[in-house]
Assembly symmetry: C2
Homo-oligomer: 269 residues x 2
Amino acid sequence: MRPAFYISDGTAITSEVFGHALLSLFPMTFEHHTISFVETLEKAEEAKAKINAASKRTGQKALVFHTFVNPEIRKIIDSCDGVIYNFLEHFVSPLEKELNIAATPKAHRTHSIQENSYDYRIDAVNYALANDDGSNVNNYADADIILVGVSRSGKTPTSLYLALQYGVKAANYPFTEDDMEDLKLPEFLKPHKKKIFGLTIDADRLMDIRDNRMANSKYSSARQCRMELREVEKLYKKEKLPYVNTTKFSVEEITAKILAEKGLQRHKY
Amino acid sequence: MRPAFYISDGTAITSEVFGHALLSLFPMTFEHHTISFVETLEKAEEAKAKINAASKRTGQKALVFHTFVNPEIRKIIDSCDGVIYNFLEHFVSPLEKELNIAATPKAHRTHSIQENSYDYRIDAVNYALANDDGSNVNNYADADIILVGVSRSGKTPTSLYLALQYGVKAANYPFTEDDMEDLKLPEFLKPHKKKIFGLTIDADRLMDIRDNRMANSKYSSARQCRMELREVEKLYKKEKLPYVNTTKFSVEEITAKILAEKGLQRHKY
């Protein structure tokens, strides 16, 4: 398998995103290696040795995705046996020309603390945890968004992702079996209707997930899953609530769809 | 303020990371706009209209970062009044040459579900929630990592980030006031010592965070914060536990440092 390295003097998240976006275009599998915090010449030499060893071991030149701006470190990495892809160098000078200002490489800390975004996100995580699974229905005035859906339709991971990535305060409220006989929007949700976003999921997938949790239970039965999903989808339509079927989407995609639909901008940067 | 647009037919996370990495090199502030799920020609026209409106409103050509592979959508976006930066086009053909295989653009879904990574991450989120804050000290055999530290040193957000981004199962255990008189590694942690990673934080920062939570309490006092931090750092050194001071780091950086130090590879891709 062809080795691919994602390297940087910080988290290497940018290098990973850059490299994965490109490699995902090719119908091949790769051996992925991330090397973060390559901040010294010694660490650069170690990274170079790892790249060279992987190239030798596999008999294929490693693909190396990096974003170094320090010229000395960059020189060491660029002298490895791998093939170098550095997107900064292709775009920095056109941008300097367009912006009519010089780049200041020291500022390159894409995934470090900026503009109090950290506090914002930690607050949002605390909010999501305190308002998970209907645990506190009196707090919804502070929510940016309130996710609703049946048990195991993806509410909790989505709430946490909204908080951690974007500083969005997301509460979530489950519709349980007891609600189903005559499913209505609960009174405490009505004043916050504009913040509500529904999740749904295919019955087969829900059965699988619930069966992993409680095998052979009523909770995971086809009949129960189908009934609950039918009721919540009927409610979403009746109340004209926006909703998304999470079955085929990653948590990133569900989150991006919610932000797009609700017109919420991302607070991260 | 110069407008910047991050656009794609998916989550637009790749376009954001690409654009932010570049713009963070410049000592300027920008007006950030993300447009995700531009999957049709109509949506492309809408995005183009937004770019043109922003350029007109600010009197400055918008910077447009995109990753479209669909030629018809791309043509519409590329015909806007903004300045286009598309990193795929610079790197796809060198990579095709190097890999000796043609790119298959339909595979470009960097942030969608792949290789069961979703289940893996959801399992890890459930694990992190069930094993947050010392709530279940008998489950540590299943942990990939166990974070320890005083209250409000960053354990919970870091555990959740490890789970959501990388599918790493992280438990966390707090050292509380009651533990401090003669702080030792609890018996139930000893068998899992290799998985333990310590967090610490500057006393002033800890006081601020705790004071926001419980103002003017013993819990947030300078004396208490300093004492707790002194004791846990003494324990980390005595037990030779790896640890990181979280004060100046984002949750991404803390996570990347932990993965690097423990030699854990990221499971996401």
